[in-house]
Amino acid sequence: MKVVAAIVLSSLLIAAGIVLRPLIATEIPASERRSGYTFMSPDTKAMQDDDTTNPGMLGVIEGEALWNRKGGSADKSCADCHHDAKVSMKGVAARYPSYDKVLGGPVNLEQRINLCRARHQQADPLPYEKHDLLALTTYVAEQSRGMPITPDPTPELQPFVAKGRDLFMHRQGQLNLACTNCHDDNWDKHLASSAVTQGMPNGYPIYRLDWQSLGSLQRRLRNCITGVRAQNYDYGAPELVELELYLMSRARGMPLETPAVRP
């Protein structure tokens, strides 16, 4: 009798759409994964496609100048060690965040640039989300444009990917929403007039028209966390880097578009 009641109740709940499917089943199948680009209007796509209309390319030009600028007490530029970024940085952004043996954990591209500054240039870190770090990151990432995302396979990284996935699946904030509730379950719908999208990380740093500037993946993540009215993480926080790691593993094989334009 109890069993019958339970079956009746659960079928009623399912009919009413109240019972959530198990989280693991809601992940987007690989064949249905789409870049944010595919959700954009033809005008915005055209802006990204033409290097002379894509405002992100200004960051690439400025980043190239910074790549060659000597700095720090070692008086070295990025180019002094890494030479031509077109060769040495090709494919790098496609596998970041990557494992740092000294720190024993993941570092994203911005953090790698600042680690390089500290370890090899003896220079002060560039502040997060400010012009110089964004431009330099954009220049480095642009060298991998068109290449498929190939996450760093280091075994030591896998627990951090799992932590990022947990955070992605974890409901938080006053709206009590997890990333997955929008970006896995409802990516094909709209919030007001804006496409929800799948939350793919394949164009960062992006030139976001809403920001009127370049911005990092962490800025975008912080936007969403504010949106669900949860307590935010600081730039460079381990939680955000873990989330970046999971997002990159979720976008495996998708071509990098940096500098992407987004509405």
């Binding site: 002379t52 209309t53 405002p55 390319m57 200004l58 030009i61 400025e62 910074l66 009127q212 500037s213």
Partner: protein, 106 residues
């Protein structure tokens, strides 16, 4: 640090109408915004843009607040002879940026 992106066709035939596209980096701060403490963020915009062909002005634009950051301009001209286009942006706080591009007219 500023940068400019110019798109001028490298070649054209005499009499062709050509499109010139320019993009320059600038914050275009309107002067109407306030900090969280209530202080006005001072205006910092590009105020004028000029394009010259072989020294002669062929296009000019004045800018005002409420133009988006990193302004993009597109305009047309008729190709009559080979030569050099000079571009100049002037703005608040002594901002000045120049760029140039050449065209071959057959």
């Amino acid at each position: 640090m500023t940068a400019a992106l110019i798109n001028v066709p490298k070649k054209a035939r005499n009499g062709d109408i050509i499109e010139i596209k320019t993009l320059t980096s600038h914050v275009m701060e309107t002067g109407y915004r306030h900090t969280p403490r209530g202080e006005v963020i001072p205006r910092d915009i590009i105020t004028s843009f000029t394009c010259r062909f072989e020294g002669d002005e062929i296009f000019h634009a004045d800018f005002f607040p409420a133009t988006a950051a990193n302004p993009f301009l597109s305009f047309f001209t008729t190709a009559t002879k080979s030569g050099k286009f000079d571009f100049e942006w002037i703005g608040d706080n002594g901002f000045s940026q120049t760029a140039s591009a050449s065209i071959t007219v057959e």
